[in-house]
């Protein structure tokens, strides 16, 4: 009797007890055939993830976030007050306007692939279009917003290292000492390299901030290496020079160490509190970094490497490293650390897509569900490419405003050109060498600023810095260089040897990416004046350069994987993927599916012939 009762119970228990297992946060899919077919296969295979990615990243994160900007933007561009942009539709319609503008440049194959994605996933075509174009458009709109915010914030008028002009020492590496402007930056121009060298250990720093709303002394922050100086500290002296201008002088409480690098980080906010959109806040100057050395260091300003900052106020941006020739142990390698926008969701939707088109070479891209491209990848011809964003106001959205400047009441923020991912895709579809890849990159204007590194299995290695050339500066927005190219001072742009390249998220050759312009009361200035990436990028380039320099042996895949996982160069919040492209082996080594991406092991994906 007892046994009879027990048997059905146990069988029921067995049926109901299957443990749940976590679904993969990274996928690998193979898509073949025409562009539409490939899109359809992609959309069908990852239907659930595509819809989840669209909802959690766009609907629940980006759209409401962008909608916060509507009052500011509509204040300048009245079109955004119209009904179409109301009731929560602002962000989607804003991005859709640009997506439709970009759509024309995608080509038939690009549009067909998006149709396939839409059909397979159940997204509308418009949603698929926005999903595949929002990164560049958002970067452009965000860049404008950031530049506007920086325009509202206190500006550094001047920086002066007191006494540097009379210390009988060459403090700027130009071979002369005690010139009238030595140690003085007026107007202040954010420096690429060290601001001054061989300073006396008692040198005082004087900064003048200005802001039409007034500079709030309580918000002034001066960090000197590990020490922080705030309002009220006896080392800081405040003088109101005139309404809206505040002079801050820092006096070292004790002599600085001899023969040392000193990093100053300066910041200040204004007196006007912005209440809407929340939270209430002043407008803050980004952290300005000034690197100097004290007497005895014996280094030229360009030879000083920025140390890591440990104040938890900065995160490493994307970077790429290419090695070849004697630098590479077994063939050329291209490594990429990509970080931008995880929002606690992108890492759950990662995918390596093996494209096997009807025409052209097969290729692998490292990206996300529902997005037809990656920001890195390689093709069967041995060409690899990796792109990093590079903030610029020379972008297509600013260009559209310029072209509509005659009547801003009807003007809209419209992106145009190709998103970087589609540029990557075109390189992989067409190029057989790095040089051909660079040429492909130069064919189309990008939506936003990007630094793309192209490498091939024969040792080709090139960087192409791109902007939209809205200001017609004569280069067509294309600024290329390789490891052997040198700047006006005969120094390599961003290489240690002929066989390596280190590329960050700031321009190295295209330094004056934008002209200086006042547009409807807003200052348009080059990247280094406003971009939050600028100092971070310079620092990560120096960090990676140091590590590469310290590596005596040729570089191999495990070493690069280790480099990409180094905490000092990983964005712990927005890291999206870490990739090593082995061009000779036609293999992608990728770490993704977690935050930060290299916190999980790298997985090798070989591209079949």
């Amino acid at each position: 009797m007892r046994l009879l009762l027990l048997l059905p119970v146990l069988s029921l228990a067995t049926l109901a007890c299957a443990p749940a297992t976590p679904p993969p946060t990274r996928e690998t899919i193979v898509v073949t055939g025409s562009a539409y077919d490939r899109g359809l296969q992609h959309g069908t295979a990852l239907r659930s993830k595509i819809r989840s990615f669209y909802t959690t990243l766009l609907n629940n994160s980006l759209y409401p976030f962008l909608s916060r900007e509507q009052p500011d933007i509509a204040g300048l561009l009245k079109e955004y007050d119209s009904d179409r942009y109301k009731e929560g539709r602002f962000a989607f319609e804003l991005l859709l306007d640009s997506a439709k503008s970009i759509e024309r440049d995608l080509g038939r194959a690009g549009r067909d692939e998006l149709r396939g994605i839409a059909e397979g996933s159940g997204l509308t075509y418009e949603q698929a279009l926005v999903l595949n174009t929002f990164v560049d458009t958002t970067l452009a709109v965000r860049g404008i917003g950031l530049a506007i915010r920086q325009g509202r914030a206190p500006v550094i008028e001047s920086v002066e290292f007191l006494g540097a002009g009379a210390d009988q020492v060459d403090n700027d590496g130009d071979g002369s000492s005690d010139e009238t402007d030595e140690g003085v930056f007026r107007p202040y121009d954010p420096p690429f390299f060290a601001a001054a060298v061989e300073l006396d250990v008692r040198t005082r720093l004087r900064v003048v901030f200005s802001d039409a709303d007034g500079v709030e002394p309580q918000t002034v922050r001066v960090r000197v290496n590990e020490a922080l100086y705030l309002h009220g500290d006896p080392s800081l002296e405040f003088v109101d020079l005139s309404p809206g201008r505040l002079q801050v002088t820092w006096t070292p409480p004790e002599p600085l160490p001899l023969a040392s690098q000193i990093t100053f980080v300066l910041s200040a906010g204004d007196t006007r509190i912005i209440e809407i959109p929340g939270p209430p806040r002043a407008s803050f100057r980004r952290d300005e970094e000034l690197l100097v050395t004290t007497r005895g260091a014996g280094l030229h300003p360009r030879d000083i490497s920025r140390p890591p900052l440990t104040d938890n106020r900065t995160r490493p941006p994307p970077f790429a490293v290419g090695v070849k020739g004697a630098r590479a142990a077994s063939g050329p390698l291209l490594a990429h650390s990509f970080a931008l926008l995880d929002a606690n969701t992108a890492h759950k939707h990662t995918v390596v897509v093996e494209h096997r088109p009807d025409n052209g070479p097969p290729y692998l891209t490292v990206g996300w569900a529902g997005i037809v491209y990656g920001l890195s990848g390689l093709n069967s011809r041995g060409v690899g490419v990796a792109c990093n964003p590079s903030d610029t106001l020379d972008n297509s959205v600013v260009g559209s405003v310029l072209s509509q400047a005659a009547d801003l009441s009807k003007a809209k923020l419209l992106a145009s050109g190709l998103p970087a991912g589609f540029l990557v895709k075109r390189v992989l579809e067409r190029a057989g060498t790095a040089a051909e890849g660079a040429a492909v990159l130069a064919e189309d204007s990008p939506v936003y600023g990007w630094n793309c590194t192209v490498a091939d299995d024969q040792g080709g290695l090139e960087v192409v810095e791109l902007d939209s050339d809205a200001f017609k500066q004569g280069q067509g927005g294309v600024y290329g260089y390789g490891p052997t190219d040198r700047d006006a001072t005969m120094r390599r742009f961003s290489s240690l040897t002929d066989d390596d390249l280190i590329v960050g998220s700031s321009y190295t050759r295209n330094r004056d990416d934008s002209i200086f312009l006042n547009l409807a009361g807003q200052r348009v200035v080059p990247q280094r004046y406003w971009s939050g990436f600028f100092f971070r990028s310079r620092r990560v380039i120096d960090n990676v350069t140091r590590r590469l320099q310290a590596r005596a042996e040729p570089v191999d895949v495990p070493w690069l994987e280790g480099l990409l996982a180094e905490p000092e160069v990983v964005d712990r919040s927005d890291s999206m993927n870490a990739v090593v492209l082995d061009l000779r082996a036609r293999t992608v080594h990728s770490a993704m599916g977690a935050v930060p991406a290299p916190s999980v092991p790298f997985v090798a994906t070989e591209l079949r012939p």
Binding site: R2, L5, V9, L12, A13, A16, C17, A18, P19, A20, T21, P22, P23, T25, R47, S48, K49, R51, S52, Y54, T55, T56, N59, N60, S61, L62, P64, F65, S67, R68, G88, T138, L146, T219, S267, I276, P277, G278, P279, P280, R281, A282, F284, D287, D311, N312, R313, T314, R315, L341, D342, A343, N344, K348, H349, G532, D571, R572, S573, D574
Partner: protein, 401 residues
């Protein structure tokens, strides 16, 4: 953002005293009880206490980590339990249990760990900054305390207990055994998919009992007097609880656009297969005091029968082990499913219950008063939510001769 709560508590299943107790033929017992339950944690797979919901890392697009929102919610529920039992024969009793949620009180106890430095703010986000930011995107602030005083019916449970025929050796050794079947009617409600803080009243959300339960119980009496009243009882019960799959609606973010907007990828509806339970109870009942006994209307004027009535004071203690099987979410998004399933893996509850019953039947008053306390904290469980429950009530017993 995820919605903040998926609440689970515990109300008692159809209550019979002792494991095998049935009512005499024709007897009716009405039981009205008040139940207060509180819940403030869940057990991890390693038997560690965790907050009822995961911490929520919040990110600003492109701005990194805003901070980590932590909630240490405390949920308290007030139930009214109305039960009626009827003795169909001396061996078969049937009953109905009607639980009514009178009030739920949820204190969220939110705290905040600042995240990355935000250059546009000149500081890291504080909790106030975060809510201000969320409100600017249309997401209302989640209340610190949510009180719902609407009376809501939970699942009604129907039950039948049959005292199985005893073999001679059972009779000789004061041994009884019984079988019981409980079946729940789906009168409870699901949690509201649009509310940030919401409580459902179906048995799965209350984690109180199965939709169908099959019990096999036994009692062994010790120190039985000539009237059949014991001084000590040892009981045991094994049961299997089956839960039917339930359909829920996806959220559209109508009230909480950032918290409850998932229908597009989860689906308009989704299913939860809660996973069944396999459980066993050991209990002990001690009678320290029989009490004065007199012939009364309760005993039909018979002193002999009055001596057979329940003792005036009975103290009981029990331990129940409940093995819970994996809960399975079935939506259009396996990612979303896993985020929930990981908290509801196969686990266990360890339930201790202590009860005191005062019976006035021997005095001629057809009432019993009882109070009990149930704890799941004494032995930590796994992947379950340990609700602690106080119950007090009164039973009226009637018999028509």
């Amino acid at each position: 953002m995820r919605r903040l709560f998926f609440l689970v508590t515990l109300v008692p299943a159809l209550a019979f005293a002792m494991e095998t107790q049935v009512l005499p033929q024709g007897a009716i017992m009405l039981d009205v009880g008040y139940l207060r339950t509180s819940l403030d944690k869940q057990w991890s797979g390693e038997r560690k206490p965790l907050a009822l919901i995961d911490e929520l890392p919040r990110y600003e697009p492109g701005g990194g980590l805003q901070g980590i929102l932590r909630a240490r919610p405390v949920a308290e529920f007030d139930f009214l339990l109305v039960q009626a039992l009827y003795g169909v024969t001396d061996s078969l009793s049937v009953g109905v249990n009607v639980p009514i949620l009178m009030r739920s009180t949820i204190s969220t106890n939110l705290s905040w760990q600042p995240g990355d430095y935000q250059p546009q703010l000149g500081r890291s986000y504080s909790l106030e900054d975060f809510w201000s930011w969320a409100e600017s995107m249309g997401q209302p602030r989640v209340a610190d305390r949510a009180v719902d005083s609407r009376f809501r019916l939970a699942d009604i449970v129907l039950g039948a207990k049959y005292l199985l025929p005893r073999f001679e050796w059972m009779k000789a050794n004061a041994f009884r055994w019984s079988a019981q079947l409980n079946v729940a009617l789906p009168t409870g409600t699901n949690a509201d998919p649009e509310e940030a803080v919401s409580v459902g009243t179906n048995l799965w959300e209350l984690h109180a009992a199965g939709d169908v339960e099959l019990h096999l119980a036994a009692d062994k009496h010790f120190f039985v007097d000539e009237h059949g009243v014991y001084r000590l009882n040892i009981g045991a019960d094994v049961f299997y609880a089956f839960f039917r799959p339930r359909q829920y609606q996806g959220g559209r973010g109508l009230k909480n656009p950032l918290l409850n907007n998932n229908a597009f990828y989860v689906g308009d509806t989704y299913w939860i297969d809660p996973g069944d339970w396999l459980a066993g109870t050991l209990s002990i009942d001690v009678v320290p005091f029989l009490g004065p006994t007199r012939a009364s209307i309760v005993s039909g004027g018979s002193l002999e029968k009055a001596h057979a009535l329940p003792p005036m004071l009975t103290l009981s203690a029990s331990y129940t082990y409940v093995g819970t099987f994996q809960s399975d979410w079935q939506s259009a998004s396996k990612l979303w499913d896993w985020d929930r399933e990981k908290l509801w893996q196969a686990g266990e509850k360890n339930v201790f219950r202590f009860t005191g019953t005062i019976s006035l039947l021997r005095l001629g008053v057809p009432l019993q008063l009882y109070a009990s306390y149930r704890s799941q904290d004494i032995i930590p469980g796994r992947y379950t939510r340990p609700a602690n429950v106080f119950t007090g009530g009164v039973r009226a017993v009637m018999k028509f001769w």
